[in-house]
């Protein structure tokens, strides 16, 4: 009898140790699912669930919603039965377009971010970005004939980037672009906004522990199943396979904007996709900028804005915002952090 008790005690102790160390496998295992499609990028959803089928059904639902947001914010393609941002752009100077509330919300957020950053992130820059897009595509298809967009063309396009000419009627849920030549491009905010909304949905469905990564826009829900923080790697700007550092997050988002992500070359010079609204050229101050804050949409917009801002202005902005941190990789390779960044990362550890 005594021996049995002793054995039972040992067994329960060992079992408890094993399962607490190995991450509570009794009620939750870690799963991951990845998708291609939404926002023309890779989506990786991972989290803890009781079973694979339970996890998969939640992840599938989130991806379905991301795809829906992508259709709404798409400026290149039309979809049957919905008015998206292409519809709004096509009706510039012609008519106001009735849109879903998500488009209104995204544009209002974009206007707020424009005001907050003194115009360093501007969704009304579509005409300028279109030019760059065209020259980049040509440069990638025929590298030997790669060219810069001509200055006069850029200057003409830049005359039609006044964000006030995007008129939003919240009550009637309509958007009207009053300048016929202006077009909306929400590339700097749409992914972050969509990630934030689908994570909100996940929380409303009772999800307590998950990460959603849409092309580098990472949103964490809760902590890991064992209560510890999620560890997220910040991609190295020099080698995409490597990490620059890791950050510990709980209910926070992290977004990195990088000059290494999308670019083409003209006469050996790299021209990336983040265009400074003042110079109309790719911003050359930094190689990458990472922002951590709760709202993924804000993190997304801020990372682009900081890319276009001088160090002092950008740092002052981040320090003025509550629970918001940033990491700048400067053009010369040096690192600059906001005051609380190191405490959240393994830099210097």
């Amino acid at each position: 009898m005594k021996r049995l008790l002793c054995a039972l005690a040992a067994l329960s102790f060992i079992t408890a140790t094993v399962f607490s160390v190995s991450g509570c496998v009794f009620y939750a295992s870690k799963y991951q699912k990845q998708y291609i499609g939404a926002f023309d990028t890779l989506t990786v959803i991972s989290g803890y669930a009781k079973s694979k089928s339970e996890f998969d059904s939640v992840a599938d639902e989130l991806f379905e919603r991301l795809t829906e947001y992508h259709r709404l914010f798409d400026i290149y393609n039309e979809y049957e039965g919905i008015n998206n941002l292409k519809t709004v752009n096509d009706n510039a100077g012609v008519a106001s377009v009735e849109v879903k509330n998500e488009i209104i919300e995204l544009l209002l957020l974009a206007k707020n971010m424009y005001a907050l950053t003194d115009g360093a992130v501007n969704v009304a820059m579509g005409s300028v970005l279109e030019l760059w897009h065209e020259y980049r595509q040509n440069g990638l298809t025929e590298p030997e004939n790669a060219e810069l967009p001509p200055e006069d063309k850029l200057a003409t396009a830049a005359e039609h980037t006044d964000i006030r000419n995007i008129v939003i009627d919240e009550e009637n849920c309509t958007v009207y672009i009053t300048d016929k030549e202006l077009s909306i491009d929400v590339g700097a905010v749409a992914k972050g906004y969509a990630v934030e909304r689908v994570c909100e949905y996940a929380v409303s469905e009772g999800i307590e522990s998950m990460t959603v990564n849409v092309g580098g826009n990472v949103r964490t829900i809760g902590a890991k199943a064992d209560g510890s923080d999620w560890i997220v790697g910040i991609a190295s700007p020099y080698n995409t396979d490597d990490v620059l550092c890791t950050v510990s997050l709980k209910d926070l988002s992290v977004v990195t904007s990088g000059a290494y992500q999308r670019y083409y070359e003209v006469d050996g010079k790299r021209l990336h996709h983040i265009i400074d609204p003042t110079t109309l050229m790719p911003s050359e101050r930094y190689i990458s900028v990472t922002v951590i804050c709760e709202d993924s949409a804000v993190a997304d917009a801020l990372s682009t804005a900081l890319f276009n801002m001088e160090q002092d202005d950008g740092k002052a902005l981040i320090e003025s915002m509550e629970a918001t941190e940033a990491l700048w990789v400067c053009a010369d390779g040096s690192l600059l952090y906001s005051s609380g960044f190191c405490a959240m990362s393994d830099i210097g550890a």
């Binding site: 054995a7 040992a10 991951q32 291609i36 890779l42």
Partner: protein, 110 residues
């Protein structure tokens, strides 16, 4: 009093527990299957611990040549214009991903 048989029993339990821990813990660290998805649908699965290779054919005529060698998976050649999948290099840890956006191909260690 604890006698010899108790000690043996406890040792046996301890060993079993350690083995369980090793399976659960280390089993997650390095995955054992290379899963291939095309347009988000499972296309093939290969054991990570056996050398092998397959060519992935996508619906619109794209190809990615997947190699599994020495417990690592990588794309050797691809028809895509950007070759990001080739540049990604070798993956071996569970959850690691190689993505080829133009071809709609995802290779993941599971």
């Amino acid at each position: 009093m604890i006698n010899k048989r108790d000690i043996i029993l406890i040792c046996a339990l301890l060993c079993a527990a350690l083995a369980a821990f090793a399976i659960v813990h280390f089993g997650r660290q390095s995955g054992n299957t290379v899963a291939v998805y095309v347009d988000n649908v499972e296309y093939a699965r290969l054991p990570l611990n056996e050398n092998g290779n397959i060519t992935i054919y996508t619906a619109d005529g794209g190809t990615n040549e997947l190699i599994v060698h020495d417990g690592k998976a990588y794309i050797k050649n691809a028809s895509c214009p950007d070759k990001i999948c080739v540049d990604t290099g070798k993956i071996s840890k569970e959850g690691s991903v190689i993505a080829c956006l133009p071809n709609g191909v995802v290779v993941v260690i599971e």
